[in-house]
Structure formats: C-alpha cells, structure tokens
C-alpha cells in the first residue's frame, strides 16, 4: 500500500512539474515574441508549480499546501485567459471547478467552487452574464461533485466491510467483537471450552511518540508475526483498541491458554527491535464460563483489558 501511495504521489508530482515546464515554455515564447507585459503570468506560476511538485514528491500523505499552490497557479492562468477576448471563455470556465475537485477533498472543493463562481462571471466581463453560461457552470459543478462522492462512498464501504485492521494483520475491533460473539455461541452450542488471551502492549504509544511511526509499525508487525507463528489456523487475533489485542482460542481450556501465553511470552522475549529493544507484553487468559452469555463474557473481557492496561 505504501508502495502504491508513493507511486501516486510521484505521478502527481510529475504532473505538477510538467505544468511548470509548460508555463516556462509559454514564458520563453512570450519573451522571444517581445511580449514583455504578459511575462508576469509565467513568472509567477512557474515557481508556484515547481514548489508544489517538490512538496508533493517527498511524502505519501497528500500535502494540502502543494494542492493550494497548484490551484493558485491554475486560477491565475484561467483568470488571464478569461480576460482576453479569445472567444473561448466558455471552454476555460470549466477548468477551475474540475481542477479544484481533483486536488482537494470533496467538501472544501465544493465550497471553493461555489465561492469562486461570481469571480469567474465578473472576469468574463459581460454584465449581466449570459444565463446559459452560468447555468452550464453550475450544472458542471453539481455533476462533477458526484464523482468524488462516489469514490468516497466506495472507500467508506470498503472500510465497513473489510474485517482487517488498518495497521496490522489482526482483525479490527468491529469484526473481532463479531467473531468473539459467534465463537462463544459456537462453544456454548458444541459444549466446547473457549479461551481468550488479553494482550497489552505498553510500549506502543511510547514507540510512536519517541521513535516515530516506523518503530510503532515494527512493534505491531513483530507481535502479529509472533502470534501467527505460535498459533493454530483457527485462532483469531483481533485489535480491541490501539494497544490491546484479544487472541481468541477456540476449543482451548484454561491450561491450554496458559501454555499458549507462556509460549508467546518466551517467543516475544527473543524478539529485539532496533529502537524499542525487547518487546514487552502483558498477558492474561480469560475463560468462557459454562452457561455464560456472549455479552457477559465480552464485558468481562473488557474489564480485564482495562485492568491489564492500568495495573
């Protein structure tokens, strides 16, 4: 995923750089033609676009500043084009709202598009403006907003239907509770024991604050890998909250759970990470009682987790 994100940011940086190049060529042409009065546009937009490209290049998170720089460059270009009586005003009018939607999130983009509408109309120079042009612009703004909205819907859908956690290979809290419920029901139905190991990682928050997101990720990965190595296929690791994990062990008695806990502790003692050193983990087993309801068991587990986190 990070690989993909860096590809996306490279692609965007390339487009910004190409925009800068385009404006530079335009400036050179104006200079050669001796049209010095119009040189001011390329002279302002080229540095803006170059800066935007550099800002976008280095990081995977979309940088708001680079988006705004590109927007300013684009708006300046359009404003100058609109003032000129080229007869292409209606063509250029469509560009700014689309550019806004491409580089900004949906909410700010729609706000900005609506706010800028009167400015574009005034720049067109005709007052009162051609109503057809205004309606065309507004329809474009409304219709264009549909696409990012659909993309947002798909992303939200992906989030609620994906059982995995965002940061590590464990289940997320929502599906963990779902699976715990079904496993306790199954255990009750088939008269099997069910054990849950509660894991608390006291180092996690500190690792993120002191050594940055990479150290935090390394710690998470180490724990998930170790659990995966020591457990059976049916055992489920889920992330209850950011520092607390539940390891659901179906068909496991208290003795079995203690054994798993011991093996895990021993295994994790051997894992030494670069920044945080030896992985520290607090473990405690919790067993489903005979006849206990899934809800009650879940509450007991939450209390146990709380207790483990602040001893």
């Amino acid at each position: 995923m990070t690989d993909l994100l860096s590809r996306v940011s490279r692609l965007q940086a390339m487009v910004f750089a190409a925009g800068a190049l385009l404006m530079a060529v335009h400036g050179l042409w104006l200079y050669l033609m001796g049209d010095y009065s119009r040189l001011i546009l390329p002279a302002t937009t080229v540095p803006l676009m170059v800066l935007a490209a550099i800002l976008r290049m280095g990081r995977n998170e979309p940088s708001r500043l680079s988006s705004y720089l590109v927007l300013i460059g684009g708006y300046l270009l359009i404003a100058v084009e609109l003032i000129q009586p080229s007869g292409q005003a209606s063509l250029w009018l469509g560009l700014p709202p689309i550019l806004t939607l491409l580089v900004l999130p949906l909410g700010p983009a729609i706000l900005l598009n609506t706010a800028l509408a009167p400015i574009w109309v005034v720049l067109l120079g005709e007052l009162p403006p051609d109503p057809r042009l205004v309606i065309g612009y507004l329809t474009l703004v409304v219709m264009a907003g549909l696409v990012p909205w659909e993309v947002l819907r798909q992303k939200a859908l992906m989030r609620v239907t994906d059982p995995g956690d965002d940061e590590c290979s464990a289940l997320n809290a929502l599906s963990l509770h779902d699976r715990l419920y079904s496993e306790s029901q199954r255990a009750g139905f088939l008269d099997q024991p069910l054990a849950v190991l509660v894991l608390h990682l006291p180092q996690l928050e500190m690792a993120g604050e002191q050594f940055g997101p990479k150290a935090r990720q390394a710690l998470l990965d180490a724990v998930c890998q170790e659990v995966e190595k020591r457990c059976r296929d049916n055992d489920l690791l889920g992330r209850e909250s950011s520092e607390d994990f539940w390891l659901v062990l179906p068909d496991t008695s208290e003795n079995g759970a203690l054994l798993v806990a011991q093996r895990l502790e021993e295994g994790l003692q051997d894992v030494v990470l670069l920044e945080t050193g030896q992985v520290e983990v607090r473990l405690t087993p919790c067993i489903l009682r005979a006849g206990e309801s899934p809800e009650h068991f879940e509450q007991r587990l939450m209390a146990r987790t709380q207790h483990l986190a602040d001893p």
Partner: protein, 288 residues
C-alpha cells in the same frame, strides 16, 4: 452501521442533479441535445434509485459507460454550448473502472478534444490538450489510490455491511481450515450449495443468513449460487437441520449438501451440482 455513511444524502444529491439536467433538457434549443440531456437525467435518477450501501452491485460496466458516451455525444452535437464540460473527462477517469474502460475514456476524451481543437489556432489547441492530459493524469492518480484499496480487500470483504455473507474467494480460504477444525474437534460440518434464480438471490441470501447461526458463514459464489457451511454436533443433528433448511428455502433449482470430509475442491463441488439429476442431493460422511 448503515448510519455511519449517509447514503441517503448522496441519493438526494443525485436526484437533484437529475432534476437540474431535466430542466436543462426542456430548455434545450435542438432535438438531439434535448434527447441526450433527457437520457442523462434518466441515468442520474435511475442511479439514485438503485444506490445502496453494499457490494451487491459492483460498478457495472455498461452502466458506467453511459455517462462517458453521453458526455462525448453532447460535446460532439453542440460544441459551442458544451465545451465547458470538456474537462469533466478528468473526473470520469477517477471512477473505479476496468483498464479497458479507462482506455475508452481516454480515447473519447481525445476525440472530443480534437473536434473542438480543429477550428482553433494551434497554440491554443496544444495548450488545451496539454492541460487536459495533465488533469486526466491527476484523475488517474486518484483512481490508482482507490484501486489499491480495492485490490487489498477484495477477497476478505463482507458483501453487505453487518451481514455474515462473504465472497467465494473467502470460501476457498475457509474450506480447508473449517475441515481441519471439524476433524480436530470431532464435529460434523457440511457445505451446502443452493442454486436459485437471478432475482431470488439477494432475498434468499438474507434468509440464509438469518437461518444460519452466527458462526456458520454464508457465501455468494456467483449470480445464482449461494453457499453455507453448516456446523453440528453429529450427523443426526445435521440431518435435522438440513430438513429445516430445505423447508425454509422452499422452491430452489438445486440443492447439494456434502460433508466437508468428502469434498475435494470447491470447483469440483460446483461442477457436481451442475451435473446432478435430482434437485436435492446429500453426500454423507464416509463410514468405513
């Protein structure tokens, strides 16, 4: 869970856009334009009605092709009025779509650009083309982001939020682990395949999810086939539940239940169901 994302808001917005375009349509100066705008309006309204918050309808290609074709046709028919919309290509390429569909969009974009640029001075045409290409690349970058997300979670997502209904990829993963687990725990597990009609699939899937216990997963295999893993203490209890299930299902085209220990692979199982003569077939555990 539905409330976490306000699908109604998007539906309202779509309907509003549909009405706006309808207003444009009745004011359109020429007949072809009017027809195209009415089509657009119809597309928006039907999309609004079909919209729901689930993976039931993954982006259907012919349905998504329509806005691209409409945009191209509008610019083609009346360039002087719709050239404002030329830049919308950069957004259409942002939608989740198969690669060939992206190709079609790029092709249509260049055709419409060409039809507009033909009558223009060369520098202006070149500038328009370069800007359009740059913006479409930005759209493509946004599209890549979403595609990465989809590729990562395609095999593990639930089909409808909150329901234990999964994809066939998930069943392929679950089969061996459920079999191993049943063997170890000494319980009876069987795979039930149900073939129904296109229209009945989703109502039946919901009924199947309600019938099954929380720990028994349901799967959608294709447009007419559903699967369910039944878990019981022994074969006798399993027989009873199978009967209940058949009564609940009522009329189905095919029904096949096989003990997990007798299943080679999911593909073979589906193949066997396609060939079975009787409507209901049960493959019992092998008792030596």
């Amino acid at each position: 869970m539905q409330s976490k994302y306000k699908v109604q808001l998007l539906r309202g917005y779509l309907l509003m856009a549909g009405l706006g375009v309808a207003w444009l349509a009745q004011a359109a100066p020429s007949l072809p334009e009017e027809m195209l705008l009415w089509l657009t309006s119809g597309w928006l309204c039907i999309t609004a009605i079909m919209l729901d918050f689930s993976h039931r309808r993954p982006a259907m290609v012919p349905w998504q092709l329509l806005p691209s074709l409409l945009l191209a046709a509008l610019i083609w028919v009346a360039p002087e009025r719709y050239q404002t919309w030329l830049w919308a290509w950069a957004l259409l390429i942002m939608l989740p779509q198969p690669p060939w569909m992206g190709g079609v969009n790029a092709l249509l974009a260049s055709v419409t650009w060409w039809s507009l640029a033909a009558g223009e001075r060369l520098p202006l045409a070149a500038l328009t083309g370069a800007l359009l290409a740059g913006m479409m690349t930005l759209g493509l970058a946004r599209n890549l982001e979403l595609q990465g997300l989809r590729a990562m979670s395609r095999h593990r997502v639930r089909l409808i939020p909150g329901l234990h209904l999964w994809t066939s990829g998930r069943l392929i993963q679950d089969l061996p682990s459920e079999r191993a687990r049943a063997q170890r725990e000494g319980i009876h597990a069987e795979l039930v395949l149900v073939r129904t009609s296109l229209l009945d699939l989703w109502p039946l899937a919901q009924r199947l999810c309600r019938f099954s216990r929380r720990f028994e997963n349901c799967y959608r295999l294709d447009r007419r086939t559903l699967a369910l893993i039944l878990i019981d203490r022994d074969a006798e209890q399993a027989g009873q539940r199978r009967q209940d299930l058949l009564t609940m299902l009522g009329d189905v085209r095919r029904f096949r239940a096989s003990a997990l220990s007798r299943i080679e692979s999911l593909g073979d199982e589906i193949h066997a169901m396609n060939r079975q003569h009787a409507t209901v077939t049960v493959i019992r555990e092998f008792n030596p």
